[in-house]
Amino acid sequence: MVASPPPASLSAPVVQLAHVTKTFGDVKAVNDVSLDIQRGEFFSMLGPSGCGKTTTLRLLAGFEQPDEDGGEVRLMGEVVNRRRPYERKVAMVFQNYALFPHLSVERNVAFGLEQRKLPKAQIADRVRHALQMVRLDPDVFARRMPSQLSGGQRQRVALARALVLEPAILLLDEPLGAIDLKLRKEMQLELKALNKQLGTTFVYVTHDQEEALTMSDRIAVMDNARVAQLGTPAEIYENPRTAFVAKFIGESNFLEGQARRSGEDWQLEWAYGGCARLPAHPGLRDGNTIRIAVRPEWMDVWRPDEVPAGENAVGGTIEDVIYLGETMHVLVRVPHAGTVTVAVRNEGQLIKPLPWKRGDQAAVAWLPEDCQILEDD
């Protein structure tokens, strides 16, 4: 039952949001958001609660409508602003599963098919197949009621109920939120596999950045009703564009200074003296104050006089060394820049311990190209 994509132009986005705005009372829940989602993509919308990701999803589903002049929502090329949810060809999985408590598992899964008035035999067949696809044995689970299922099982039924309709687009609203960690990781991989296997476009909402990075082809990081950055997991993680993205995804150290041109190269002058080399960046202007983000794992800790040539360095005092198992975090207090966190691989503290103690003088160093020049939020 693999959904074969129609032969139409493969480059046309299946979902398009063009300058969409949605206001509730005085508050803009979605503010001038534009994005395109490609066929078959696993697309995530990631952000803290209140950032607008769920509202955006509900705009796609049809549970909310954009404001009067609030842009266009297009599905498969058609403008659907005013279309009701039951007139759109999308399916959805809800955060709390939303299984109909008065119907059995098979009646739940069959619901959408019954609305389409398909023949009974066909419905039974597709329901069976859908349950197998989400790895629930039909013979065991078909007759059960939702109240008799565990959280993970309910989520699978919710998934089956959506996928049995062979939708072109599947919306998922934080579906793994209520599931415990180990099962969650399993289901993340299963969802990803289903996405590739079926060719269905997945639009996924989550606040868990690890989840988004694991599963997505592309991520839209949202903050305060806007898209802060849109890109692949690698782009988001390795080239965060704003301080928000750098902070929300993984960890970052922030450093501030003035940009100075020096011949062909650029330098970052610290306010208290000293400088670091900057990679070229189109936004650099001589004299501007800029912020850079450097991820802990791009940094290293050296004795002040042992910093390798070519690397940027700032001096400081060791504040703490934290044991995290796979990595060690070395916290270094850098004057005028606060505490910098450096992530060092743990090569076995019992065999090859780190030489750092609280109070030691040290230098934190990184390669010039390993920093991110941040734009304003």
Binding site: A61, G62, F63, R84, P85, Y86, R88, V90, A91, M92, F94, Q95, N96, A98, L99, F100, P101, H102, F111, G112, Q115, R116, R161, L165
Partner: protein, 257 residues
């Protein structure tokens, strides 16, 4: 912390419970008493119950109560559910006013409701009978149904209706296939409540019933006023049993999740 309750407290509580229930238990007990003057126990008999069935006024009263109860329950349940739906799922102008207004019938004394309706019917020259009783009963039961159904609605997962819609069901289909099955215990509970209140009502009914349309409570009132005999105990016992059963049912329905 000491969690044992002082003895005097428990005694007072037991006394109050006795006060609440003993009179009724006594009433029931003496419905089986084989003596017309009912003050001391003579022997066991079901005579008084048999006599009830032989009394045309009681039978007519019962029939009237059932008709009125049935009709006013159905009307209150339907109208009340619709209002509850609007209050739970829609934001609209005049909503707070309506919510306030719904509570007024509940605090209004029964005589006020009774006589104001009597005046209305007299003014509009509507003859008093079962219809006017039904109209009156719906008026005072409606608010209760709204409250019960509203409580159930607010506890209901709103995602269920959205899930149905995204699966292709329009608003009407969603209502019948998802909302109503979920709401059903609440509606039934409200209906049972309405029926109980209608079945038991005396004051309002006494004002809006004509001479030919006495409900059971009216007949019983007449019996109490005129001539005390154990048949009254018997019919009271029956009323008690019916009411208890209905309330128990309504309670179980509101419990189940």
């Amino acid at each position: 912390m000491s969690s044992r309750l002082p003895r005097w407290l428990i005694s007072v509580t037991l006394a109050v419970y006795a006060f609440l229930h003993l009179p009724l238990l006594v009433l029931v007990a003496f419905s089986f008493n084989d003596s017309k003057f009912s003050a001391s126990w003579v022997g066991f008999t079901l005579d008084w119950y048999y006599r009830l069935f032989q009394r045309p006024d009681i039978m007519r009263g019962l029939k009237a109560s059932l008709i009125v109860g049935g009709a006013s329950t159905v009307v209150s349940a339907v109208l009340g559910t619709l209002v509850a739906l609007a209050l739970a799922r829609h934001r609209f102008r005049g909503r707070t006013a309506l919510e306030g207004f719904l509570y007024v019938p509940i605090v209004t004394p029964e005589i006020v409701v009774g006589i104001s309706l009597l005046i209305l019917f007299a003014l509009a020259k509507i003859p008093l009978g079962l219809t006017t009783i039904i109209i009156a009963h719906v008026a005072f039961c409606l608010s209760f149904v709204v409250i019960v159904v509203l409580a159930r609605l607010e506890g209901m997962d709103q995602n269920l209706e959205e899930a149905a819609m995204i699966l292709g069901a329009d608003e009407i289909t969603t209502f019948w296939k998802v909302t109503v099955p979920q709401l059903w215990p609440g509606i039934l509970s409200g209906a049972l409540l309405a029926f109980t209140m209608s079945f038991d009502d005396f004051v309002i009914t006494s004002f809006v019933s004509g001479s030919g349309s006495s409900t059971l409570p009216i007949v019983v009132y007449g019996m109490v006023r005129r001539n005390i005999e154990p048949s009254i105990n018997a019919i009271s016992t029956i009323i008690l049993l019916v009411t208890t059963a209905l309330i128990y049912l309504a309670d179980r329905l509101t419990r189940e999740k």
